[in-house]
């Protein structure tokens, strides 16, 4: 049987990769995908804990996380499209009107 901590470590690794991608990448769509990666990592830890405590609400919560992720992806991509229309670029470093 697999210890809980293995699942948690895997979740942590996925989350860290997501954060790393968020920080490193410059293409805004890739950044968005890193966010999805983070959410997936979190989902895994929820399910793992649900199995650990033998309580189904962990899996229910995963359900809600997915709904929110989907909605956020839809709206976020719409924003990206709008930004692309005005800025003509997907590079995050160039969307910087607030720059000094």
């Amino acid at each position: 049987m697999v210890p809980l901590s293995y699942y948690l470590i895997l979740s942590g690794i996925l989350f860290s990769c997501g954060v790393l991608g968020f920080l490193i990448k410059r293409n805004i769509i890739t950044i968005f995908m890193s966010i999805e990666l983070m959410l997936n990592g979190v989902n895994l830890s929820f399910v793992a804990f649900a199995a650990h405590w033998q309580h189904l609400s962990g899996q229910i919560f995963v359900f809600f996380v997915m709904v929110v992720a989907a909605a956020e992806a839809a709206v976020g991509l719409a924003i990206i499209i709008a930004v692309y229309r005005t800025r003509e670029t997907l590079d995050v470093d160039q969307v910087n009107l607030l720059k000094l």
Partner: protein
Amino acid sequence: MLHLVLFLVFAAICIAGAVNLLIQRHPIGSALSLVVVMASLAAEYLLLGAEFVAAVQVIVYAGAVMVLFVFVIMLLNAGEEDRTKGSHVALIIGVPGILAGGLLTAWVLLKQTGDVAIGALPGDPKTIGMLLFHDFLLPFEVTSVLILIAIMGAVVLANRPETQNETRKES
């Protein structure tokens, strides 16, 4: 034993996909790696007995959300990323930092929970459905409203300005 092997195999695929997402320079490569990650996660969920969640993961996440991502990548004709000074800096600072944080977290987790093994918790649709519509009814309804808002937001945000001018010309 089998569980452990299966877990490790799918975990390796997961991590490989995640790392590939970071390494890929074209967004479409990152998108496909993410699909791989989601699929392997679905397998992990099955190992944990969460059947419904695994199915939903594949259908919704990998099947809808990622397809949306790919559509947008194709629509915007995103190209490869250039290497710049800033991204170098981010690499140099970010990678060791995250690695350190991750290792620390892993060590703590191992120390805390150690060898407690977990079994599967069967999450069949009937049980989930009962929970969802009895105990979690309110959040359920709220999420439906959330989706409605998201739809409206997406439509408004993505609306082409030219369409409005044409409409005005016609009337």
